[in-house]
Amino acid sequence: MEMPIPDSDVIARRRDIAEDLSRIVPGEGVIVEEDERRPYEADGLTAYRTLPLIVVLPETTEQVAAVMRYCRDNSIKVVPRGAGTSLSGGALPLADGILLGMGKFNQILELDYPNRCARVQPGVTNLGITHAVQDDGFYYAPDPSSQIACTIGGNVAENSGGVHCLKYGLTTNNVLGVEFVTIDGEVLRFGGKHLDSEGYDLLGVLTGSEGLLGVVTEVTVRLLPKPECARALLIGFPSNEAGGDCVAAIIADGIIPGGMEMMDKPAIDAAEAFAKAGYPMDCQALLIVELDGPEAEVDYLIDRVRGIAEARGATSLRISETEEERLTFWAGRKAAFPAVGRISPDYYCMDGTIPRNKLPHVLSEMAKLSTKYGLRVANVFHAGDGNLHPLILYDANEPGELEKTEEFGAEILKLCVEVGGVLTGEHGVGVEKRDLMPEMFTEDDLKQQQRLKCAFDPQGLLNPGKVFPQLHRCAELGRMHIHKGQLPFPDIPRF
């Protein structure tokens, strides 16, 4: 993974820059000593590490704006960071860039139930929002598995998902407004408590932009009333095909479950050994279907889903009768990652999305690749929305095995794109999938996306080296080749 070559002049000025910045962010908000910068050297993609130039931890929007202006005026790169849980290296520091940690923005500013929204600072954790409102009967819907640690600012940057996306949407569908700071130090607001934002939907553009367009300093999220109840079915199938068929049939019947998760045999085995959730061991695919809503609806749909599953050859079927039992069904699935971590020294989590009906094909191709690379793979699958998380098992201490794993992972993602899917469903491109972007996009596509970045960040100072495999200067991207006096397309019908 090649990153932009660090500017040695900037690195040489580290102390001076830190001094300037401490005038903006006084106290202990500027970290320059190496051992204190060390905890920030990586995010959730721990295979990559770089010590940042300086860590800055602002506390107010004004400080963020002043830091951004300073960086713009002095051509210093900025890498924004929330809790650092990104699995794609979105918050990987740059040796010649400041790391802008937003952790001190940890206040919930307003709970507005009549308008069903909350105004929060970006450093509030995802689960922190739900915790703040659950006693009043509300929750915040997107629930990435890192929700205990990940921040809402990071969720906006990555457009994070979770297991309930099919019914409740991703972050982008659950954010009503943001305040954000541009690299010019301007503080802008998009959206608010009203439902549709005016003008261009720059709120939508900012969501999922991976810290390349600006720094979010406040978020207005949509709150939902808690469903009356939730129940789950745990269904075993003799094959991945049968499991996949059942998923399709449930949706074809007009049912959109709150959650619908599938695991393949290796994942079932690992999860059961770890969590003792009582999963059936005689099946090849396991489906968890959760239905939430009013009691009358849930009971009714449980029966309908049971009928569908039985008709699709389910070999085992259990229905949660208590809240405790429902949570047990989930315990194995939720522990799938650590469970896999226990049967292998290391694992690498992929994140492609595919059209659901391609699942059996993709799984069988993946089995072939597993043999080819001599690496085991376990699959957990957000079956409702087609988001696949293959976990490749490897040992980083074996020379060459990480490289082999990455190559295997890249082949899986290429396969996802080949069948009509995408490189990443919820983890982001970051540095991890950056060089695979041409699998999905033409050079023109990527250049156009970078032109959009230029509209926000003409010097390319915000999080460079992420998302785009090739960096272009904005002046070069803006150039147009126009052939004056060319024959105006004689073939086009004119009226």
Binding site: P114, N115, R116, F138, C165, G169, T172, N173, L188, G192, K193, H194, L195, G199, Y200, L202, G204, V205, T207, S209, P227, E228, A248, A249, I251, G254, I256, G293, P294, E295, E297, Y300, T353, I354, P355, N357, G386, G420, G421, T424, G425, V429, M437, M440, F441, D444, D445, L446, Q448, L452, K453, F456, V467, M480, I482, Q486, D491, I492, P493, R494
Partner: protein, 410 residues
């Protein structure tokens, strides 16, 4: 209607690219048109030529079990809705048909027009807006280059989400040729509970409480008595008072259960009435398509205000200080539809002045002279306007695509 000297009708991507490349060489602005059903909405476009995109029509992908539909952007919405109907599916944001509101026949709109305007119906409060169901597209930029974004899957964070940018950009960013949208099963049953006689304040409070209950409302609207008299639903007319409407949709047993619970909750507010399938559908189509202001011969100016739902009563009170104002609420108060007999000024200053705590107002219907004279879309702060201009220019540096349709210079 058009001042375009001539119309180009490219039949494929290559011709479209040629046309826009040529427009760049001669700096000739283009007015993008699908079926032209929303041409009377927005600032008047001063374009040298009309770019007719009607050749990009036809449904290319529909997999009901995958909840996905792809089509050329000029595909008539009527075709798309018919195909979905057959499989008991729908576009959950409830696409409105503003044909009659804008003085044209119903049923003319295209997929591209829907996406470019991001105008959603009553179910927006539950299911999200057009933009939330727009998964991917193919387009040609103002630079004359093909580009795409998104795809056919719901969960996708690969690259910038340009679908959001294109949605509601009124053809100022790129000429879209094909799009993919998320579709969902349509409800088996619909019921609407009506409460009579509430004033806006009581209605907004009741709608807010109902939305905060676990009964999953998919519509919440308030219509004053001067408008209910024109309803095409007998029950609504007969109320002879304002009507606050609460819609429940879903599976039969669930709707019945929720309907009972909701009616019990609403009982303290007085008499309630229930609309079943046909009447419920008719009522919400009336709200969705703004039929109270869309009758033949109605030439009043129409504004659409998006506000925080709880601000609605205060905003409404200020709007009613304008002579001849008529208004009703959708989205539990979050959307105010306003008609005014002021074709010269649109009472623009008073309308926007009524928004004191955020939100925005869009002039949806008005004579061309008015649309040229007052900002049709909510004016932005200097910094936001400058950013919007830079965003536009990053796709269309010579500002050739629908120039000025949204904002002057964009």
């Amino acid at each position: 209607m058009t001042e375009s000297a001539s119309t180009f009708r490219p039949e494929n991507d290559a011709q479209l690219i040629d046309a826009i490349a040529w427009a760049n060489s001669d700096l000739k602005p283009l007015e993008l048109v699908g079926s032209g059903s929303k041409r009377a909405l927005g600032r008047p476009v001063q374009a040298a030529h009309c770019l007719d995109l009607s050749a990009f029509a036809g449904i290319t992908l529909y997999e009901p079990e995958e909840l996905v539909l792809g089509a050329g952007t000029a595909t008539p919405m009527a075709d798309i809705l018919a195909v979905l109907e057959e499989k008991k599916q729908e576009l959950a944001f409830e696409p409105p048909d503003f044909g009659p509101l804008l003085g044209r026949p119903a049923g003319e709109g295209t997929l591209g027009g829907l996406l470019s305007s991001n105008l959603s119906g009553p179910r927006r409060i539950k299911a999200g807006a057009v933009r939330d169901h727009f998964l991917g597209f193919d387009a040609v930029s103002g630079r004359g280059q093909a580009f795409k974004s998104g795809g056919r899957v719901v969960k996708n964070v690969t690259g910038y989400d340009l679908s959001k940018l294109l949605c509601g950009s009124w053809g100022t960013i790129g000429a879209m040729t094909a799009a993919v949208v998320k579709v969902l099963p349509r409800s088996e049953k619909t019921r609407t509970v009506l409460v009579r006689g509430l004033d806006p304040e009581a209605a907004v409070k009741a709608m807010s409480d109902a939305l905060n209950s676990p009964y999953e409302l998919s519509g919440a609207s308030w219509v004053p008595s001067d408008l209910t008299t024109a309803s095409d639903v007998g029950y609504v007319r007969d109320m002879e008072s304002s009507v606050t409407a609460f819609r429940l949709e879903g599976f039969g047993p669930s709707v019945e259960y929720r309907c009972g619970k909701l009616r019990a909750d609403l009982a303290p507010l007085g008499e309630t009435e229930e609309l079943h399938s046909h009447n419920s559908l008719a009522f919400w189509a009336w709200v969705r398509d703004v039929k109270p202001f869309g009758q033949p011969g109605d030439e009043r100016v129409v504004w659409r205000l998006s506000v925080a739902p709880t601000d609605a009563p205060a905003v409404l009170a200020r709007l009613h200080e304008i002579t001849g104002a008529a208004a009703f609420l959708d989205w539990a108060g979050g959307l105010i539809w306003l008609a005014l007999p002021h074709p010269k000024t649109g009472a623009e200053e008073l309308v926007r002045g009524a928004l004191r705590t955020g939100g925005h107002a869009t002039l949806i219907r008005g004579p061309k002279s008015l649309r040229a004279a007052v900002p049709v879309f909510q004016p932005q702060s200097a910094a936001a306007a400058a950013l919007s201009r830079r965003v536009k220019e990053s796709f269309d540096p010579n500002r050739l695509l629908n120039p000025g349709r949204m904002y002057e210079g964009v």
